[in-house]
Homo-oligomer: 300 residues x 2
DNA sequence: TTCTATTCATGCTTTTTCGGCATAAATCTA
DNA sequence: TAGATTTATGCCGAAAAAGCATGAATAGAA
């Protein structure tokens, strides 16, 4: 018994006429008659009652017709789903990200994911920038966002998503404003609230490079890897900070963002040996999200 | 894509080894490799990752393996059920019977039906003996029980099931007992309660033959086609009756059954042109029930 | 390292199956 | 009764599948 014969059976069951069914099935009538007879022998079930003039279904034939139509549909659906799995449209992707991705690319990516790959589940893990790489390499996540360059790392690949300005974050009552701002050296006497940054991190060099250029060493009032915490401390007059400008989007606190010249870049990172189509699709999705990103926070 | 290829796929998925799977499938390994490759091309889905040494399933392959096992089971179940339909083990049989079958063969038949053909639904219609034949011929029922001989009827077939004695039914306080009973002529002065019997009915001839033999014409007090009604009237001293002895089984009324010599035969009847396997199975079942019937009501 | 055994893939040949054609047999219609 | 329609059967060529021999790669043992 073969699927071809079942297809033929359904063809005959539809027209109840071997000649016409044969035409629909693109074979000649004798071939069809033989295949149906073969099927009946294999099954041990008489599907059609027929004389030299008429054809009709037996009760068992009617039952089989109805069931085979259902099975055929389920079969096709199953194949479609398997194709979706192969194409990376179905499954789970574990995403690691530092808090600084939360107000820029991440919501856009998740919206796109919902729209374009609704069968793909995203599992989100927020973590400090310093943890991101190790978590990825250890296989606890599949992709991550990072502000670190790691083009020379052998086990991971990286792609630039977008750049944005850094901003000085001061309490609302602070004397410094966008208008009177000239240099962060004006905050020389303020305490700084900065994320904990390891020596090897490029982001650390980016931040501290700014201080060096202006010729002072900032006083560290507090360290925190969580933007929300940092902004709250700034609001409470406990210091000033430097954060990516997109943080402005998620804050209703009484703090002021003063854009700086310096840019920070967000990257998308994945394991070199991970050829999963899900990861590939997700990277493409992030690319698309980054291209569509509106970074004009001034007007936001 | 053919069922053969799916069978091969499941074979390889089980062992993850083309050579061993080929042995299990009774083909040579190159043939198996080619068929799997063909299947992968047809589906557009890579089922196995393989190098020259190892084979393992892709995610899509795992999904398809699990789903195909389920589909295969459902497919086989469907074919089994179709075979049951063909063999008359599944469906509905409409059974007509006169009340006099109710205490003898019918319960036995229904028990056997439940045991041996649990997927066969019996639809019961009690009706007067005079209606049974017409209802059958008109196609409102598929089989019926009857006490009439109709071997010469062109449209129906008939088979004898069993014979039993007739009995005189008298009120408990009636003077006549098994011991002092000699002839129904002793009831010459009693009113008789008999079913309505058309002239053409053999059963009528059977009953009235007894009266003729004893040389008297019974006085008909009441007519009823329902045994329960007749017995109740007898209990209430409104007359005596003649019924098949098996009625004793279903009665807790204050009536006495006095066995007579005369026998009555119950037949099973069906339409000549009805070749349904369900009817055939049911007839066989009734035969079996009749053979196993315990007619020794004396000891019951 | 080298040899052997195992495993999957490829090329060629044989066998089986399937489809096409001609036609028979049966039945309905004019 | 003749013609049209429909299913079944016999025969043949084409296509597909299986078998066989062998190649290529690799893991494991000597």
């Amino acid at each position: 018994m073969e699927l071809r014969q079942i297809k033929y059976f359904l063809g005959v069951a539809e027209t109840l006429n071997f000649s016409k069914a044969a035409i629909n099935l693109n074979i000649v009538q004798p071939a069809l008659s033989r295949q149906i007879r073969q099927l009946e022998q294999d099954l041990g079930v008489v599907l059609f009652e027929r004389n030299n003039r008429n054809v009709w279904l037996t009760p068992a034939g009617m039952y089989l017709r109805d069931e085979m139509i259902k099975l055929d549909k389920r079969f096709k659906d199953t194949l479609d789903y398997a194709l979706s799995i192969q194409n990376g449209h179905v499954g789970t992707i574990r995403i690691g990200y530092p808090g600084s991705a939360l107000y820029s690319i991440l919501p856009e990516v998740l919206c796109l994911l919902q729209q374009k790959l609704p069968l793909l589940d995203g599992v989100l893990s927020e973590m400090a920038e310093v943890e991101v790489l190790e978590t990825l390499v250890n296989g606890h996540i599949d992709v991550c966002f990072s502000r670190e360059e790691m083009y020379d790392h052998p086990n991971v690949c990286q792609r630039k998503l977008f750049s944005e300005q850094l901003a000085l974050v001061v309490p609302e009552k602070h004397a410094l404003t966008k208008e009177n701002f000239k240099s962060i050296a004006q905050c020389r006497s303020d305490g700084f609230i900065l994320p904990y940054l390891a020596d090897w991190q490029m982001y650390r060099q980016l931040i501290y490079g700014m201080f060096n250029k202006e010729g002072f060493v900032p006083r560290i009032a507090y360290e925190s890897n969580f933007g929300a915490t940092i902004m709250r401390l700034v609001e409470k007059n406990l210091g000033v900070s430097i954060l990516p400008l997109s943080y402005r989007m998620g804050s209703s606190l009484k703090v002021r963002f003063i854009p700086l010249k310096t840019q920070t870049t967000l990257y998308m990172v994945w394991r070199t040996d991970d050829h999963s189509p899900i990861v590939r699709n997700f990277i493409d999705l992030c690319d698309e999200a980054a291209r569509g990103l509106n970074l004009d926070f001034e007007c936001g």
